[in-house]
């Protein structure tokens, strides 16, 4: 992996089982979030809701490149990561309903999905807030002599924050096993990258910390997977942190409150032609590894999973108001 590498023009070979698993996850995320948007309209889901639609290849490729005991730190746009990580769709949906059966007991909502077993350290609603945290998780791992990696996802907007700078420096200085997964979807809310960064080459920026960098086509899940896998391997070997820029695009508005007036419709349409599900499906079909029938079956199963998740959330219970102050502190062991 060299600095500023871009995805090879010719498709990287990929094992069919893995490709199909990643396709399935992308479809699951897509269907799940489409339903979220509906449910938001119905006021079943409230608060902030940030959809990942269009960016599925990034989270899916990256999470598949991680071992199950690696740690993940994500942002408020993390449904995809949680689903790809294997957290039950029902627990995620219940969380967004605010139900006790939610993966954060209904206290977190869409922006704060947590799962200790899956080592998902949130869902963080402070832009850049997860970066120092991930650095610390990696520090603990290194001090304990383990080989687990920590992956932190963040948007290109977060790169302007001091938290990015301080975390990159600490991670590089101390050679910590952390992979910085930058989801460059070109906008931070309504602010385009070139209007927020003097240096729009994010890999050049990251390289100035003396860390290894890579760039991947965020609309190609195989490229994302490959770049992430190389990064994770490198990190696991103790070579210090790696920064990976995924070039992607969000098809939906920033959040459900965003009127989305700062982008050209044509730009959105152009990116939609390059959709991650579409790209992988096409490739697998052309390679004879996927039939339309299989695809429809995958899709139907995803829809069913979402239906079940919604049913689970609907049937969920509300945490008792008496438990409001529970877990402000850790309870004494019984």
């Amino acid at each position: 992996m060299t600095s500023h590498e871009t995805a090879a023009p010719k498709p990287v070979p990929i094992e069919t089982g893995l490709a199909l698993a990643m396709l399935r996850d992308m479809v699951r995320i897509r269907r799940f979030e489409e339903r979220c948007a509906d449910l938001y309209g119905q006021q079943k889901i409230r608060g902030f809701l940030h959809l990942y639609i269009g960016e599925e290849a990034v989270g899916v490729g990256a999470v598949h490149a991680l071992a199950t005991d690696d740690s993940i730190v994500a942002t408020y746009r993390e449904h995809g990561h949680a689903l790809a990580r294997g957290i039950a769709a029902g627990a995620i949906m219940a969380e967004m309903y605010g139900k006790l059966e939610g993966c954060s007991r209904g206290r977190g909502g869409s922006m704060h999905l947590f799962d200790a077993k899956a080592r998902l350290y949130g869902g963080n609603a402070i832009v850049g807030g997860g970066l120092p945290l991930a650095t610390g998780l990696a520090l603990a791992e290194k001090m304990q002599g383990g080989r687990r990696a920590t992956a932190v996802f963040f948007g290109e907007g977060a790169v302007a924050e001091g938290a990015f700078h301080e975390s990159m420096n600490l991670a590089a200085l101390w050679k910590l096993p952390v992979v910085f997964f930058c989801e460059n979807n070109l906008y931070a809310m309504g602010t385009a990258l070139a209007r927020s960064e003097s240096q729009t080459d994010l890999c050049a920026k990251a390289a100035s910390y003396d860390v290894t960098t890579a760039r991947a086509d965020g609309m190609d899940v195989v490229a994302c997977y490959e770049a992430a896998r190389d990064a994770v391997n490198r990190v696991r070997d103790g070579a210090g942190p790696v920064f990976v820029e995924f070039q992607t695009y969000r098809y939906r508005a920033h959040s459900m409150f965003d009127p989305d007036l700062y982008r050209d419709k044509a730009e959105i349409e152009a990116w939609k032609k390059n959709g991650p599900i579409h790209n992988l499906t096409n490739r697998l079909k052309s390679e004879g590894k996927l039939t339309e029938q299989t695809f429809l079956a995958i899709d139907a199963e995803a829809q069913r999973e979402v239906d079940l998740a919604v049913a689970f959330a609907e049937e969920g219970t509300w945490e008792s108001v008496d438990d409001l102050a529970r877990d402000v502190h850790t309870q004494a062991a019984p």
Partner: protein, 327 residues
């Protein structure tokens, strides 16, 4: 004329930008996006990207730059999207803006206005529902205001900009869509007085920002039970207008503070301390407070409602103070 709080803020900003070339608005997504609460919608097109300046995600940097620009002769209005993110900028606000004049022996003033939305109520969960007005109100050198009415949303920006020293403006996020009657006196807004929003003789309710309207709702209910509650909108959190508070409390001999901040160390505590210091012998009962529960704000609606001050809890506190039970 009826007008929303958002529109009142918008008009105030528009006036300032139109009248004084030194004024500019800077913050995340104030420009092309139109402001995260749509307060500055259309300004980017009207005043251009220099004066409606979209800032990168770097709260410490751009708030500090606003402070520097104020020192350099401009009249910046810096928008920190929400109080939650202002923690990242606190060092510049406290260690530079607030201290600057005194520690330079009076040589420099820092005429910056820093606006931020605050508060909970929209199910935005723990990291997006803070109320740190009391922290800012603790700092000498700052003036801290919390417009709660359309009059103040319309009227307080001009004196804030006229102030040679830093002014922090808290806009409660639940108020933006609120409609109110703009009074002919809006332009007389000052930065030093509290206002009696509703007169009453039996108890004083003291509130600011979003809780003003909860106190008003409570007063309405109390009225139906024959209890006259006077409602004071603090408006200015630093300096506090002791005279208005004490005059009311001396008359009603009882007070309840309604404050969305966490209870311990709340602004309510400071007001209680001042009443203790200045009106102790006039009290018929200990001053009470209705604050937020001391928990990170939960997402679920019923839990969020339970954590926040509500008109019912204010009514209950008043009844307890009066030794009555709810009807």
């Amino acid at each position: 004329m009826k007008i929303t709080y958002r529109e009142a803020l918008r008009q105030a900003l528009h006036d300032a930008l139109a009248c004084d070339p030194r004024v500019f608005l800077m913050g995340e997504d104030v420009g092309k996006y139109g402001g995260s609460y749509a307060v500055s919608k259309g300004f980017f097109e009207e005043f251009g990207p220099e004066r409606i300046r979209d800032a990168p995600l770097s709260e410490l940097g751009f708030v500090g730059a606003g402070i520097g620009a104020a020192l350099g002769g401009m009249r910046p209005i810096v928008e920190v999207m929400t109080v939650n993110f202002s923690l990242l900028a606190l060092d510049q606000i406290v260690n530079t803006a607030a201290l600057y004049r005194h520690m330079s022996g009076g040589q420099f003033s820092v005429p910056v206005v820093i606006r931020m939305s605050t508060g909970a109520g929209r199910q935005l969960a723990a990291q997006h529902s803070h109320s740190f007005e009391n922290w800012y109100a603790h700092v000498p050198g700052l003036t801290v205001i919390a417009p709660a009415t359309v009059d103040d949303a319309r009227g307080m920006l001009a004196p804030a900009l006229a102030s040679p020293d830093p002014v922090i403006v808290f806009e409660h996020a639940m108020l933006y869509p609120m409609e109110g009657e703009l009074s002919p006196n809006w332009a007389k807004a000052d930065l030093c007085s509290a206002r009696v929003l509703r007169p009453g003789g039996d108890v004083t309710l003291i509130a600011y920002g979003g809780t003003v309207w909860k106190a008003m709702a409570a007063a309405e209910r109390l009225a139906s039970q024959g209890i006259g509650a006077e409602v004071i909108d603090l408006r200015v959190l630093r300096p506090l207008d002791d005279a208005t508070i004490m005059a009311s409390v001396r008359r009603t001999r009882r007070a309840v503070i309604v404050d969305e901040g966490w209870r311990s160390g709340s602004l309510a505590a400071e007001i209680m301390a001042r009443i203790m210091e200045q009106a102790f012998y006039d009290l018929d009962a200990p001053v009470a407070r209705v604050c937020s529960a001391e928990v990170p704000m939960p997402y679920a609606k019923h839990l969020e409602e339970a954590a926040l001050p509500q008109p019912e809890s204010v009514v209950a506190a008043v009844l307890q103070l009066l030794g009555k039970t709810a009807q």
